[in-house]
């Protein structure tokens, strides 16, 4: 009797996770395996139904000798690096400014910074494009009030990248801010007060107390920010579309072009595999950090 009850119990336990596991095996793991398989094949719109031809590592070799792909790797790196550094820096400064002040101010700040994160990215990108317009955009109008000459933001390779960074920061700042503020508020007041009694300056306090305590939080926030920017597609696609030329063609845009403009599916599968490897690398470093901080049980 007891054994049967235990069996039933064990069955129930596995029954709780079974639906999720089966669904994800079908719609996540299987597509990834399928994609891995396709990355070794010559597969285009025409021979797609017959499954393509096996060509070994040729897709990968071709990619790594293609200037356009190497460029998009580099562009992705620049985009992620600039967006994340700016984002963390600004979020940290705002968080430092508001975490001890009035609750009301903190709430207003949180809402203002969260709105861009929640709002539909495509719509947000379109507004930015509208505001950045050379002739009629409001940003150029504001600049003309200060006698700054008009800038054609999205058609110059440097300004296009910087503009995309700013949009990315605008979009994701709320996320970093929220996590950093939560981390700051968890620092016990006693430590800070003790430091004040000892007569430390504000900067010393920041350098020797706040930053060391906050380091794990900052690491996690940075990794999340890296993942977020690494995935960026909507805002870039709707503003520059990867241009001018290929100056803002990050990997996701490159993949999209390979897929829908060149219709070379085998090659696009290889790009997906590379994307997967990079993101797994980021994910595993994240897990390592979390494990070290004891946040993974």
């Amino acid at each position: 009797m007891l054994i049967r009850r235990n069996d039933k119990d064990r069955l129930f336990r596995w029954f709780t996770v079974a639906p999720s596991i089966i669904i994800l095996l079908l719609i996540m793991v299987y597509p990834l395996i399928n994609n891995f398989y396709n990355s070794f094949r010559y597969l285009t719109l025409i021979n797609q139904r017959s499954g393509g031809i096996f060509i070994g590592l040729l897709n990968f070799l071709e990619l790594f000798t293609e200037p356009s792909f190497l460029n998009s790797l580099w562009v992705t790196f620049i985009y992620v690096f600039l967006t994340v550094t700016l984002q963390i820096g600004i979020a940290f400064l705002i968080a430092l400014a508001v975490y001890k002040g009035r609750t009301r101010l903190r709430q207003i700040t949180t809402i203002c910074l969260l709105l861009p994160k929640m709002v539909t990215p495509v719509a947000a990108a379109l507004v930015w494009r509208f505001m950045l317009n050379y002739e009629t955009g409001i940003i150029n109008y504001f600049m003309s009030l200060f006698h700054i000459p008009r800038i054609s933001f999205l058609t110059n390779s440097v300004s296009a990248m910087i503009t995309l960074n700013i949009i990315g920061v605008w979009q994701h700042l709320g996320f970093s801010f929220l996590l950093i503020v939560t981390g700051l508020m968890a620092i016990s007041n006693e430590i800070l007060e003790a430091a004040e009694v000892d007569g430390t300056t504000w900067f010393q306090k920041l350098r020797h107390i706040i930053i060391p305590i906050l380091r794990p939080v900052l690491t996690v926030v940075s990794l999340f920010a890296i993942i977020n920017s690494f995935q960026a597609f909507d805002t870039i696609f709707m503003t520059t579309g990867g241009g001018p030329a290929e100056a803002t063609q990050v990997l996701s845009i490159y993949l999209y072009r390979k897929l829908f403009i060149a219709s070379s599916f085998g090659s696009a599968a290889a790009v997906s595999v590379i994307l997967l490897v990079i993101s797994l690398f980021i994910s595993f470093s994240m897990i390592r950090v979390l494990k070290k901080g004891g946040q993974l049980g």
Binding site: F12, R13, T16, V17, P19, S20, L24, I27, M28, P31, L32, N34, N35, A97, V98, G101, L105, T110, C112, L113, L114, L115, P116, M118, V119, T120, P121, A123, A124, L126, V127, R129, F130, M131, T136, I138, Y141, W170, L179, V217, V220, F224, I227, Q231, F233, F237, M238, S252, L255, L259, A268, S272, L275, S279, I282, S283, M286, I287, L290, L296
Partner: protein, 283 residues
Amino acid sequence: MNFCGKKINVKEILIHVIIIVFLIPFIFPIFWMIISSIKPAGLVFATPPKWLFQPSMENYQAALGGGSRGWGVGMHQYFINSFVVAIIVTLSNLAIGAFAGYGMARYRVGGKTLPLAFLLGKMLPPTVLVLPFFLIIKNLGLSDSQFALIIAYTAINLPFCVWMSWSFFLDLPWEIEEAAIIDGCSKWKLLSRIIIPMASPCLIAIGILVYVGCWNEFLFAMTLTSRNARTLPVVASLFITDEAILWGPMSATCVLIMALPILFTLFAQKYIISGINAGAVKG
């Protein structure tokens, strides 16, 4: 410094002013879109911009009449598509995911590895799945169906639901459930009477994030649909044509799409904030 008998900290006021000035650019784009959407067509492009004008609904009429521009089905259908896909994904993923999260937290099913596997799934960039999904959906003849979108969004959101609810259930006190089990409460009753009510704040938080995520999603919506199953973000992108960009109707459409996430942020921020924090601090 004293002012009207009240002590005022000049430094504090200065910080407030600086922060508020700094925050203006963050809400300005949203504000500007709403303003532009109610401008009469002739004034949308006026430079210098007109700040005072007679509000007009022209742009909204043009946006909602989009069906007549040869887009196939009417605008109302796109709203229905977005709503139906998002709600089905939210409810089903929440139910399936929370169930798994509960099993992993309470019975340690799968030990430490299974939660990690879901975490990896949660962090997978959706871009990686675009090509395989595109090919599989096409070969199954499911292109341009809401079903295809539901499947794709489940792949993105289910690991998130599992992981979030797992980390939440880990923190719930076990004692209440134990007491109920000793009193002879059945597993299913336990779930409906005790666990779900206790977990509801967390489930609402996850649900809102998933719903808004589906509502906003663009990449899969664009690649897997073409006409009938189109969702709102794709419709917004269609205002950019080769000949011209229809800014007026476009901003009206964008306001209509953004309304829902904005309302959620303003009125359910408590849940959103707790959801974001739980998802990140715990991993």
